[in-house]
Symmetry: D2
């Protein structure tokens, strides 16, 4: 049993609220326009891609074995998720509801035989 | 009180498992390498950016007022989240733990006065 | 000897001027802000990446063998170059001078043994 | 009359050949697969976007007034062009011919009144 299963960590809603409060406390509201946040999300996704760009498929598959690389990957994954959640906050989107709806559309689009 | 607060929808872990099972059922494993998934994540983030690229800041701020635009935005948000979760699955990353750690680092990096 | 060597095609400056005139004729100036053009450039680069995202390295290396794929790749390469040139126009940058300077910096950064 | 008009700088073909020789000299061939180069192109386009992501439209329009910012923008423009040319080399694409063909298609797609 992993540690997460024993003691559940912070939930998505709680982290989303912390991110929102973090931005309010620093008066970042004027910068957090939808257009800026969606650019930042795209830039962070590319920073994640940058880690992998020159790796062979085999090197990419083993990236988490190196603690320094693993830290970078987790750090960029967190940045992508952070901007995605902040974008959802300013646009009034519930990301989990959006994803559940998309999975249902994909189940119709790619039916099992 | 929103509907989400009354009846909580699917959680992140449940959606992540559905996505993993979806890929297993369709035998997409060979395509879901870290390098491919991180590329797909980056491409989906750009598709979200594409919706906003020619809009003025004002038009961007009002994008959810149009049902068709709102659908597109939610659809691309879901795609970004889906590939992020699938990447986390193949790399063995817990995205919420990664985000919580990042928020803590950011609180040290951008201290309040 | 290829056809290009016999009869040189349009030069970069000429194409850049055609793109600038094209935008003027259609009154696209208000949309062609630096921020919008750099977003569009990034989106087009991702559309090029999208063509390759699920391919194996071998499939990617042979992509130009299929006329339909080759057309898509050339079309997206053209879009990336078009937005790059239009960005250079609005910012007053000479892309060839910028590239020559960068190559010189790289020759210092990565010296030959 | 600008300096470029008096003494034409390096042409696109010459720079493309220098980039190809640069990679050969450093034995970078194995890394310069189409899939890797297209990822690198996308990453560089995002690094260009990163410079602009938090700027207002007004700040973005004046970015070249600051020498340090102007250097960064020229540097990233050069990186985007470099990877685009290197991708064209490995795929056997003439970027100017591709762009001329695209402009012609766009003239049909967006006809003048």
């Amino acid at each position: 049993m992993s540690q997460d299963e024993q003691t559940p960590g912070p939930g998505l809603s709680e982290l989303r609220e912390r991110l929102a409060q973090f931005a309010v406390d620093r008066e970042w509201g004027p910068y957090h326009t939808p257009k800026n946040l969606v650019s930042a999300l795209s830039v962070e996704a590319s920073e994640l891609l940058e880690i992998f760009q020159w790796l062979t498929p085999e090197q990419a598959a083993n990236i988490m074995a190196d603690p320094k690389d693993a830290f970078r990957v987790r750090d960029e994954v967190a940045d992508v998720l952070a901007y995605l959640l902040q974008l959802c906050t300013v646009l009034g989107i519930d990301p989990l509801t959006a994803l559940a709806a998309k999975i249902e559309r994909n189940e119709e689009r790619f039916p099992l035989p």
